[in-house]
């Protein structure tokens, strides 16, 4: 059997894996984005307590392996009576882990927006929230879009670790096919190609989005 035949023979395995990988990556991206935004706000708070909590969150999640975080959430929390399914644990781990990286990216973007922008908005009677939403965030997100894209791609790739706790994602399915066929290389090459198609498509889409935004205003 050549690699194409292997792919075709076990297409339902790979198809199933794609679904779970995409599902987890999508949850990780969306929740990580929202959570990251919140954490970046904590990090920039006027008060020390939220700032401290934000820093702990970021430093802990950045400074420990994601696999360890995954195991803590999936196996460790059981001792507190919190039993999560493998998918739930995977989704939570990917979300909180990416939120830490995205929070730092957002913070850089927000602090990089010229102070005069906030002053102009405030001088027009806009409150803090409104200023953030209409003036600061659109400019901040735009300037850190490449870094956000990077993080999204990382999430897709890193989602493969959820196979460790039995989520039937691409990585898991490759191993399943190996078990059936005794072929170790072909299934891995197949999923490598699939991962690449996903990340490459995303990177092209983000590039398109970036160009569309930057046609608006070149400062």
């Amino acid at each position: 059997m050549n690699i194409f035949e292997t792919f075709w023979e076990y297409r339902s395995y790979f198809g199933h894996g794609i679904q779970y990988t995409l599902l987890l990556a999508a949850i990780g991206v969306v929740c990580g984005f929202i959570l990251g935004l919140l954490v970046s706000m904590l990090r920039m708070s006027r008060f020390w307590l939220p700032r401290f909590l934000g820093t702990v969150w970021v430093e802990f999640l950045r400074g420990t392996p994601m696999l360890v975080q995954l195991f803590i959430i999936h196996y460790g929390l059981v001792s507190f009576g919190i039993k999560l399914t493998a998918i739930e644990s995977g989704a939570i781990t990917l979300s909180i882990n990416s939120s830490a990286y995205l929070a730092e990216t957002f913070r850089a973007g927000i602090q990089g927006v010229d102070r005069g922008q906030a002053e102009a908005a405030r001088s027009l009677g806009m409150g803090k929230g409104m200023t953030m939403r209409y003036i600061i965030l659109p400019q901040a997100v735009k300037s850190v879009l490449p870094a956000i894209g990077n993080e999204f791609i990382t999430i897709i790739k890193e989602s493969s670790i959820v196979s460790f706790i039995g989520v039937t994602d691409l990585m898991y399915q490759a191993q399943a096919v190996t078990t059936i066929t005794y072929e170790s290389l072909k299934p891995l090459l197949i999923i490598a190609a699939i991962y690449f198609v996903m990340t490459f498509t995303l990177s092209k889409l983000l590039g398109l989005f970036e160009r569309r935004l930057s046609t608006d205003d070149q400062r």
Partner: protein, 240 residues
Amino acid sequence: MINVKDLHKSFGKLNILKGVNIEIAKGEVVVVIGPSGSGKSTFLRCLNMLETPTSGEIAFEGDSITDKKHNINLTREKMGMVFQQFNLFPHKTVLQNIMLAPVKVKKVPQAEAEKIALDLLQTVGLADKKDAYPSQLSGGQKQRIAIARALAMQPHVMLFDEPTSALDPEMVGEVLEVMKKLAEGGMTMVIVTHEMGFAREVGDRIVFMDDGQIMEEGTPSQVFGNPKNSRTKDFLSKVL
């Protein structure tokens, strides 16, 4: 209209304002002059609380705006401000720049806000630029848009923080022209500027600041023609 009592502002150990007292009447055009570092910009930025005063009181239309319980956003709706660096919103078109605050803050209906914005663009002579982005405008055009943006909130007073200092010399005139029209229309204005000719022509009152205090004030002919304070004399001899 604006009443400032014993205003102090320090940044750490640096005392910028050392007790400023001034009363500004409705319809008055007050021009603040003085050497760099004299605290004139800080004074102006305290008027709408972009800088929080260290002590002292500022009252606007009878309300103490330095009071911690006072909602400063409501006051800022009535105080337009124009900055040295324009600070237009680069991700929005000219029209969106002008309409944003009226629509979001004052809840003016979209159509009405657009009408106000187009009228203002006419006034500042830039009606054809309504769909342009700030990056496509010259400095003078940006500043005129910034003035229109502030005016769209229909403020009771306009604060100008060195509005022509960042402009190429050939663009200063067009901005001053717009400001002059505004003054003639009866707008209350507080202007920090280095344009002495403009100060003399448009100002009802000239305020000379140095070392965080008001050293001298009076009509343009008093201050420019017959300065009393030695520091005023010294300053004017350098700039005139």
